[in-house]
Symmetry: D3
Subunit: 208 residues, 6 copies
């Protein structure tokens, strides 16, 4: 007589608590340095691993004629703890994603429509600049200042992936001009002229 | 009189040896557990950070009617050490990427054309299965068996990103039937019938 | 007069909250990507660091004539956060641990009784196969398909250690045939014959 | 007409839950292997990132004529998850920080007053010994036994930094003589004479 | 007769090749993603672990009236692989370390003389600003824009430590104005006026 | 006509340079912080993953009546980069592995013969002490002082595994008494009596 095979495996399959294949983020539970707490595995479904927001163009009717739609852990809890996340980038003609950094991760961008001029600057202040066509990918090392700009006459679309579920996004203009950092402190720490700072604070809603 | 600002910074900018912003892989130099040795930073150009191979459809004139074009560290040394890599997936009608794992990283897939049925199986043997439309993304946790299959009547294209520059790719059929692992060992360790094993060894070029 | 030495050290010894030497898992508290929450250090005893289940042979009266007894974080919370775990492997004559992977860790196996034929397959589809005698150890790199099979006429026993408290265990046959993954999907993604799939689904309790 | 720039960025700035720039420790919430749970980001202020306890000399009126004032995660929750912490070291004339280890991190020490003789011993039992003057820094690799001793006639002060928010501190004398480890066990595992052990247990409050 | 104890330990102590307690950087050998190759342990002396450059004030006779003296892995190879590094900061009256980031590590600063106003900006654009007195420490999370400015009438001195042997240093003004990034690209990606950009390019030696 | 399947996979299987499944250590090539350089994958055989030294009892004819036989990366290069290693422990009656630490990893011990009394001390100076029988396992958190002692009248044997290929081993007695650390420095930093130190220096070959 042959006994069923699963006798020996039941230790593993009987308890969801032991599964650490994934840790879908429970946004309502405590968060730690490694990410969100895990959703109860017995309540996880395939929809936790799928995100459908990136099929829709972002709204580029704004000053920079650009939109970034993130699928980071906060929007897409399925990536929590998995070392990866994603986003969509729309650039209308003339559109630009201004200088920014991702403090928590490196980025790969792929152009899927149009032409994008992308660049980053290293710690040694060297500029790495390239015009990217459809199908080209470019990698931006973690934490370095970089930008993307529509280099063609039509809409450009790109997808970007990050080496962290929470790469962060620090946009230079917002960090400098979009908060209450006093104008004189911005001037002292950037050497920009006061008039220039006040002008951009006006545009970006900064005070001080 | 005002002295030039760069007096204080020259310590940083004068020596490329100090730059650890990135480590473009030197495929000819020794490799270690963390990746390839770094190319001399003074010889790095923007082209080291750009890969153009993903704009071209892979050749799907094969049994599985599918093609995977990788941009891992071996093909795209710019990602070395940066915790991320990329690939393109082409699926002709009826095409399939058979069950496989990436031992070294998690994966996010985005459908950019067509419809793809994708699935993975957890350690608890639960199946997570979804039909993905254009713009949908799905995450596959590190090391788990998963597959992608064209679920529509036309060509499907996807881009995939990994949480490692060297995620690896172990295709189940090749691991079992595409090498010299003796048939009786495959049978003993998979419970497949000998005839089935020999049939697939024939297709995949396996011996033993 | 000499003051007691502990005056200067009381900052360290007075509060258990500051101790991060270990993090015994509290299986009832929230779990995160790095593991279980820590049990209150003041309630931790030496028994949290000791596990006695591995002195007893596993029950090998089953189809595969084998048993795996894990001491992962779910069974042995003392290893939580410590990057290591353990298990016992019993193989009756003719016993086999079928092809499987540990998505989350590398493994070292030591034979303590009998002879075991063990093997793994790399991403390059190369087979690494060895007959192991008592006292031999073999390492299986993270995430790669591997198996163990009793290569002698008597009971074989091994201990295995993992580079993670939660290495996971994905058994190929169970992933393919032990759940509700539809037969036609298994066929399409493995190239196995339908009859073969249905036969094994029957043995392993799979549906669809 | 110009639309406000923040249209595209509101996804990022509207929800504090998405911020993973930092994870100020909430000492009252569950703790995991990666550190404390994060304080609600909306309640974080600059004071969470500032610690003022290191401007005050520690009390060196004790046997070792030394004091260590830590700013680890338990005292300075702002460093939780950030891979770094700090401490102050005061050494009166004749003062010594006896042999100890930090199981969880490497250390850099800078002398800001006086002269300090510091040393560590490697796994190969090699001694690395140096007399450090004001402005000198020395690095002590993770987990190795090391000490600091006032090498001058006046007060010496140093600051130390660690590569972990919770480096731990295991002081040899306390581990051996400051608890209930039986004298005979200490003797058997250190080869020290029983009289020596009892003498130091007496000084350090040990029993057994 | 008693045999010498070291019989059992000779396996460990006889070969320096086995020692991984530290990995003093060999700046002339290949570098990888994890850092410099290790200097032959048999040639390592205590001086590899000591750096004496931080006792000397940096030269603040420059535009920003400030100086940063680093002891990163490139200057202090003893920290290679140890997850930590150090630097000295001198601020003459009116001195400022302008906005910058460390892409590779978090920072703790301690004021040892004078008063320093320090601040950083989070991804959510919140400003964390504090006036630091002697003995105060402040932590700056990895990758975020931050600055330090002399807030008193006399010289201020600080020591800073990083959670990486190669934290990197990207100074905003140099990244934007100190290289050959074309003025129109700077304008498009920062919204700064062309005149402002040209003015600062003039000061900082930028072209284009 | 059906084309062979391997057309699409040849990118992966054709070049061994791309394989990062493992990194068998090349002990003659440069070493970095993450471990040894990788042996050319085309020259790797199964014997690189197998170590046979642990079937043989260590020589316990010494003062401590104990022997440790390591299979760390230096002895067993197959574990390089895989986060795990192994060792064998022999304890003759009365045998002891004196107080020691592994600076680089946590340890799990399994008793396979006899009875062993094992213990470790936490940073809070708490003692965790247990008598272990055959089949019991105990975990020792990274970097903490611990010991093992034969608690029975016959030979005891254990296997130990570590969470690092290079855990290191710092034996307290050797660090204190087995080198040229001056007696007065040992006295000052341990509070041991000079006579005690000189006695043990005599036994262990120390000078100074």
């Amino acid at each position: 007589m042959i006994l069923p095979l699963f006798f020996i495996f039941c230790l593993f399959s009987s308890s969801h608590a032991a599964v650490q294949d994934f840790c879908v983020g429970d946004l309502a539970a405590p968060q730690g340095p490694a990410g969100y707490s895990c959703k109860d595995p017995s309540k996880v479904t395939v929809n936790d691993f799928v995100f459908s927001g990136l099929g829709i163009p972002g709204n580029t009717s704004n000053l920079i004629k650009a939109a970034v739609t993130p699928a980071f852990a906060a929007q897409f809890p399925g990536v929590n703890g998995l070392g990866i996340s994603f986003a969509r980038l729309d650039l209308a003609p003339g559109g630009v994603v201004p200088f920014h950094t991702h403090p928590g991760g490196s980025e790969i961008l792929i152009v899927v429509q149009g032409t994008i001029c992308a660049g980053f600057v290293s710690s040694a202040n060297t500029v790495y600049l390239k015009s990217l066509k459809k199908g080209d990918i470019m990698v931006f090392p973690q934490g370095l200042l970089h930008f993307q700009i529509n280099a063609g006459g039509s809409v450009a679309i790109a997808f970007v992936s990050f080496s962290s579920p929470t790469p962060g996004l620090q946009i230079l203009d917002y960090a400098l001009f979009g908060n209450n950092l006093p104008t004189e402190l911005v001037a002292a720490t950037t050497f920009l002229d006061t008039a220039q700072i006040k002008k951009l604070k006006g545009v970006l809603g900064g005070t001080g």
